[in-house]
């Protein structure tokens, strides 16, 4: 046997040196468990056909092929056509598609979370911005209250306050004068003593 192989190899070397170098290893491979399952696959296929033959004899007598055809060259042109449509479609993603994306939970949940965070953030910032303005708010309310009071009433109140102050001042002067008179102190003596 080996002898036959050697003769064959020699012949091949003579006829095609390149081919003889390639070796006789099979370059094709099947799935790892292809041959293990093969017999059972064939068996189950035969069983199915037998079952149909028994269950539906008329159906199984009809040749099993797809009776449809396509226009000539359809499958040669389709990839280019599809590619063109994909490129056209890519550039015109509509607003509606974005909105429909938002309906899907995987987009809707992050979107709602983001909106919630943004809303909470704005609310927080507004509160902070309002806090230092409490004084101005108080001033505003004081001014508002003043605007409701009649102007004449305000003037009357202010002048009444002034006259009471003047009264207290004049009362003080009178008591000093009385003290000086009572103690017989004259202006000339006082100046000399001072």
């Amino acid at each position: 046997m080996n002898n036959d192989n050697d003769i064959h190899d020699d012949d091949l070397k003579g006829m095609s040196p390149h081919l003889s170098k390639a070796g006789d290893n099979n370059p094709f491979k099947a799935g790892t468990d292809y041959f293990e399952d093969f017999a059972s696959k064939i068996k189950s296929r035969i069983d199915e056909l037998e079952e149909i033959k028994n269950e539906a004899p008329v159906l199984s007598s009809i040749p099993n092929y797809t009776p449809f055809d396509t226009p000539a060259g359809y499958f040669d042109e389709l990839p280019t056509l599809v590619q063109q449509r994909c490129i056209e479609n890519k550039s015109s993603t509509s607003i509606l598609e974005w909105l429909t994306l938002l309906i899907k939970p995987r987009f809707a949940i992050p979107f709602i979370t983001m909106v919630f965070i943004a809303f909470a953030g704005i609310n927080f910032m507004n509160k902070n911005a309002q806090a230092p303005n409490t004084e101005t708010a108080a001033e505003n309310t004081f001014e508002d209250q003043l605007s409701t009071i009649d102007e004449a009433t305000i003037i009357e109140t202010l002048t009444a306050d002034e006259s009471s102050e003047n009264k207290s001042v004049s009362n003080d002067d009178n008591s000093i004068e009385n003290y000086l008179i009572d103690n017989h102190l004259e202006e000339y003596n006082l100046r000399n003593n001072l």
Binding site: R45, I52, E55, A56, P57, V58, L59, I62, P63, N64, Y65, T66, P67, F68, D69, T70, P71, Y74, F75, L78, P79, L81, V82, Q83, R85, C86, N89, K90
Partner: protein, 181 residues
């Protein structure tokens, strides 16, 4: 050159090779998806419209595709849903009740210039049209494409048991139609 799904996805996620990868993906899957849709809609023009929309949807969502399911399972699911939506829209537009699609699709079949079947094939297609949409899809996937129940389960998001039952009901209904017409 056919790339594995993983290689296609890697190349698609790279901006420089995106268009090339998508072109390869369309070439690799266009026939399988076309025939899947065509068996639901029957008419070539409708199938062409839906198939293009399916690929546009795939283009838009492929980057975010998480390899939790196989790529072709995911694409089949998009194709199935788009086809059913298309049918429902057509029915709504034509004022046909949602559960009565057979007449509408029979017209679709007759008006299609790319139907190459003989009289018996036409009769079989009409028998298939008497099935509810989902049962029709299950029958087509099993009878014509011989897709495994496990794969169908992933595509149609239905249990294997329910799919088996659905297929057997479909076979019986079709047999009854063929024997009585």
């Amino acid at each position: 050159m056919d790339l594995s799904d993983k290689e296609l996805l890697e190349q698609f996620r790279n901006e420089e090779t995106r268009n090339y990868a998508f072109n390869l993906l369309v070439r690799q899957y266009q026939k399988r998806l076309y025939w899947h849709i065509r068996k639901i809609l029957l008419n070539h023009d409708d199938t062409d419209d839906v198939l293009q929309n399916v690929f546009i949807k795939i283009w838009r969502n492929l980057e975010s595709f998480k390899a939790e399911s196989q790529l072709y399972t995911w694409m089949y699911r998009i194709a199935t849903n788009e086809s059913i939506n298309f049918l429902n829209q057509k029915k709504k537009h034509a004022g046909i009740p949602l559960d009565d699609v057979s007449d509408f699709l029979a017209n679709n079949l007759q008006s299609d210039s790319y139907f190459k079947g003989d009289e018996i094939q036409a009769k079989l297609q009409k028998a298939i049209l008497t099935l509810p949409d989902k049962q029709r899809i299950v029958f087509n996937m099993k009878y014509f494409d011989n897709i495994k129940y496990e794969e169908m389960s992933a595509i149609l998001e239905t249990s294997v048991g329910a799919l088996k039952a659905s297929y057997h009901h479909a076979v019986k209904k079709i047999e009854n139609y063929l024997t009585s017409h």
